[in-house]
Symmetry: C2
Subunit: 469 residues, 2 copies
């Protein structure tokens, strides 16, 4: 931690150079995510209003060796946008950079500043029948979407953020506050190494993303949805493959949830009606089919029913209901809160090759039942893309037996099982202070050293972001 | 250039360490692309049979400071896989690394070694109703696909190679011949900075790609196609937007070709039947609609006809024909050869925001007509993704007036117009010895310096590939 006089000198230098009110005083706000673990204290909060402001800030920060932590809508889940507790890091809030720089319906693209929220962007895009098809439970800003390389529930059809970014504008932490302008909204651009990629999924490291160009997709014009009960996860996989054979790229979501997790929803939120009794189901899936081609609703539903009928005849499907998708998404969206009730939730965000998901979930459930019989374990998430959210719930009555050390041990043991099953310990949430220790433990040294070399090349002073690779 | 004794010493070192026949002697083969400009002389051709072989080769190369140039199927168009003329660079051919390491239909993924051809990969994938939907005029190997970040004619629906890569395995040029294993076929993987991206679209620089994991898409099961005449490029854009409104993500290609280019096809290849007389058309488009959902052929054609009918009533479309797509692709595929007949072709591979394409083509045609009235200019390519292949044809009779210097001047002047119109000078072909001078001239210094810093971090000795950023 810097000594107090040095900190005051840094603050004065920032304030004197930047002036004009867009640098605020020291901050000790509660942060949205997991504040107990990662709440930090900022040297100050800089609120640039433009790329030029951000470049000026970078120059001062470099001159005075002030670390910068970019902050968008503070919806991240790993603390990558939260300063540490030292009081030496300056938060860079992009809440004043909210301009839509260009909206080009003919090109199906939009260029926005880092602070523009996903919902705002999509409101503009919708006026021309377009959208950025990243479907999340939160409403991040554009800079955060890029930093986290967000995924979401429709990834099976639309891909992650990286697959929808056409370009970025970035400010580097060098003496000149260099601005990288790689914003051109071009779908084909192979004019040398694509520097854009150095900032997507970098968890706020490497540079300050000030603007982003996204490709937009046509809004969905026809859709249908089903809620389907399966006797096993293997059956769910067979169901997924059958729906892909029947609908190809139109399958837009295949979200799974364990029967126990759905029971939690029924218990916690009686108003969210689960369409049928669980019976012998091991899990359910929310199946959604959607296309930008209008007028296909009836045909899609007819095909979905035929597909379900065939699967029921093969005993792959136990039961199913078709209805407007919103109704089933209410169940899916209620899951995280429902499984967290009555206990302290330990959440895991992991991914697998789709064929390995079933075995992992069974393994995890059995291991928890054997090694931690007092805890419950709920699995749900994105079967279609291999993503799995696992929530281990510690009943309040025994919470004192699971202090931080015990939680870390449990988490580590479960991650080891993830890696043994060919999975990834952070599917969509990225890496930040909350989980960087697992990054160091679970990602091969060769990859980490390469990431570190690239980071050092781009940000040699190590001033940007919370993660040192 | 190395002195001869040093070269012989390097060859002996390589041969002694690698032994066992997989290093061949000096090579001076003609290369497929633009041999007159870029044909090179190799110190030798190493043909590793495994990742371990490649790592051993990298170690020897580092010890003896031998530059390595990776070679796949030699289908590249910018010379990035061709050694220079110094006789000091060792070609690394991946033609022995052709194993399909894993094919996982349940995960819709395939992991192949660098030497596996796109067609071979797709033959295997097709057995499970899947494909890697990169649609090219050539048949590159997996390593080349990654190095070039290939695009192709169906990019509008499926994206480029980057959007279909799940992971790579790479050998670095360091003392240990480090192997980066980032091959896991995971769709959601945000476990820290994604090192994979450092090698996609790097034009063979940074490291030796030894294996790739691709996501596979369901094969197309329903489709229809139309060949459409437009009075102007602006009308073609209106047509593109109308088809996107009618079919959303099912629009799989919207290839345009100038009326003059189609006339060349009719003249050069009478067997390739153009469906109707040009009349007042400024350009044509091959419109293809395709989906993985079976049984929609009739519905798609009915909708396509309705869309065309409405466009014809608005005078956007002059004439149109529907037929199986193969027939129209024959016209499209004949274009490059047809426009090259009767002259020396100067080819450009450029891209734009889609709304800027029409103005650029008009500008380029008018400029050629005014500044180079003896030359003809043909535009065709990928209206749907903004990609444009422009071929300026120099009649043989006046070819002596357009020597290398005049060609370079013409090329430079046209690229300046591309950049002024917001375009990119290399859309899909990437950067190699053939066009690296334009990279240095046309890409902003900030981006080039960043690319150079990253390259230096990954390959500090500068031993891999032909492009120094």
């Amino acid at each position: 931690m810097n000594a107090l006089p040095e900190r005051i000198a840094q603050q004065r230098a920032l304030a004197a150079t930047l002036g004009d009110g867009w640098l605020e005083g020291p901050s000790c706000e509660p942060y949205a995510t997991d504040a107990a673990l990662i709440g930090g204290v900022a040297l100050g909060v800089a609120r640039p209003a433009s790329t030029a402001d951000t470049s000026a800030l970078a120059r001062v920060a470099v001159a005075h060796r002030v670390a910068l932590v970019a902050q968008g809508a503070r919806t991240g889940l790993v603390g990558a946008a939260v300063p540490d507790r030292s009081g030496t890091q300056c938060v860079v809030s992009f809440d004043r950079m909210r301009a839509i720089r260009a909206f080009d319906p003919a090109n199906r693209s939009i260029t926005v500043e880092a602070g523009v929220r996903l919902s705002d962007l999509n409101r503009v895009a919708a006026e021309a029948g377009l959208c950025l098809p990243i479907d999340l439970g939160s409403d991040p800003a554009a800079g955060g979407l890029v930093g986290a390389n967000a995924g979401g529930s429709r990834l099976i059809k639309y891909g992650d953020v990286r697959r929808n970014v056409l370009g970025v504008e970035v400010v580097l932490a060098d003496a000149a506050g260099t601005v990288i302008d790689a914003l051109a909204p071009l779908r084909k651009r192979n004019a040398g190494f694509d520097v854009t990629q150095c900032f997507i999924g970098a968890n706020g490291a490497n540079g300050l993303v000030t603007a982003v160009s996204f490709a937009l997709a046509p809004l969905e014009r026809s859709s249908c949805a089903a809620f389907v009960a399966f006797a096993s996860y293997d059956a769910a996989l067979a169901g997924l493959l059958a729906f892909e054979r029947a609908f190809g790229e139109m399958l837009s979501a295949f979200e799974f949830m364990s029967a126990a997790a759905v029971d939690c929803v029924a218990a916690a939120f009686p108003a969210v009606r689960v369409p049928f009794a669980a019976g012998d189901a091991a899990c359910y899936a929310l199946v959604e089919i959607a296309t930008g081609m209008p007028g296909l609703d009836a045909l899609l539903e007819e095909r979905a029913l035929a597909t379900l009928d065939a699967l029921a005849n093969e005993r792959v499907v136990l039961d199913a209901a078709c209805a407007p998708a919103e109704r089933f998404w209410r169940i899916r969206d209620a899951l995280p809160a429902a499984v967290a009730q009555g206990g302290v939730p330990l959440s895991f965000d992991v991914s697998f090759p789709r064929g390995a998901l079933a075995a992992f979930i069974t393994d995890a459930e059995q291991w928890i039942a054997a090694a931690h019989p007092s805890l419950s374990c709920h699995a749900f998430g994105h079967f279609g893309d291999g993503g799995c959210h696992l929530v281990v719930s510690i009943p309040h009555a025994i919470a004192q037996r699971y202090g931080p050390l015990q939680q870390v041990a449990l988490r580590g043991a479960l991650y080891d099982r993830v890696v043994r099953a060919g999975g990834c310990f952070s599917a969509e949430h990225g890496v930040g202070p909350v989980n960087v220790a697992y990054y160091r433990k679970l990602v091969p040294a060769e990859s980490r050293q390469l990431a570190a070399a690239v980071q050092h090349a781009i940000d040699p002073l190590g001033l940007i972001g919370r993660v040192r690779y």
